[in-house]
Symmetry: C2
Subunit: 148 residues, 2 copies
DNA sequence: TATAAACTCTACTGAGTCAATAGAGATTAA
DNA sequence: TTAATCTCTATTGACTCAGTAGAGTTTATA
């Protein structure tokens, strides 16, 4: 399961990505639009800031902007920053590998083999879906819906 | 992440599936071979028994056997019984769908669309990998390793 | 029919995580 | 200098996870 925090992070990025113009948006405004508790959002944005996904401007008239082009922000990165590795087991993780301490022989473990396949499929999808795409996608879905 | 409990469940099934002959195996023996705390394993086997994955025989000389052919036990079922739905969000689950209460419009939500793709890919893999296959796979991997 | 050997069921516990809140601190524009 | 903003660390309550405990039920068999 994705944590609530990760869902909030993605929604906040949508707000930033949909914003026209390049002046920063205040946490309070992002919180309201993305329907995220404000103080909780502070932590989330801080995590993403440290990773360079968003950029902040302190002081009066400060706020947040995307840290890079929305084409260069993918779902996998956001989820990894907030929730940790994608794999179902540390022994099947490529970004945060860790041996199972009760595993007889990892190289022949059939469970691990299946979990690796799942991890690869998951990563393939999440790494290929960008914020830019998702925002476009949502826009056209809404447009299509209004027409019907 | 898979829970420890689910990993234990899979290991216990391997022990049952590798067992030759059809007399039942006692919890204590499964626990030892699968390296699972015995009392914890009781709960796990009970969960799987209710789902028909394993079968139990009470009383003296009792124990556990597989509830069906190992060809008909797949990873997805085991994981669902122990850990719940595979999807990363209830709104993306096919077996345990639940609406997000803070979602504006689920039909146009781009996050959900991505999570659905992940769920489908995950389910495809986990539903196609059976216990029988996994046991075979592990056996040949071990054999190959010994030869080298 | 008594007994030992097994599974069954419910309750409990300690550690840890999750979601959220709180508040003092640092920075900036004007 | 001040108001507005982000930054950082601590705390909280509820919940989940991993495991333990123990009384109850069923069965084979002597």
């Amino acid at each position: 399961m994705l944590s609530q925090k990760a869902r909030y992070a993605l929604r906040a990025l949508f707000v930033l990505g949909e914003h026209e113009g390049n002046e920063p948006i205040m946490i309070a405004d992002i919180a309201e639009q993305a329907k995220v508790p404000r103080k909780f959002l502070e932590q989330i944005l801080l995590d993403m800031k440290r990773r360079g996904i968003v950029h902040s401007q302190r002081g009066k008239f400060g706020g947040y902007t995307l840290g890079r082009d929305p084409d260069d922000i993918d779902f996998a990165e956001v989820i990894r920053v907030i929730d940790g590795p994608l794999a179902l087991s540390p022994c099947a993780s490529r970004t945060a590998y860790r041996r199972c301490d009760d595993c007889e022989d990892e190289t022949t473990c059939a469970i691990r083999k299946v979990l690796l396949a799942v991890r690869d499929a998951t990563a393939e999808i999440l790494e290929s879906r960008t914020l830019a795409q998702a925002i476009m996608d949502e826009k056209t879905a809404k447009k299509r819906k209004r027409r019907n």
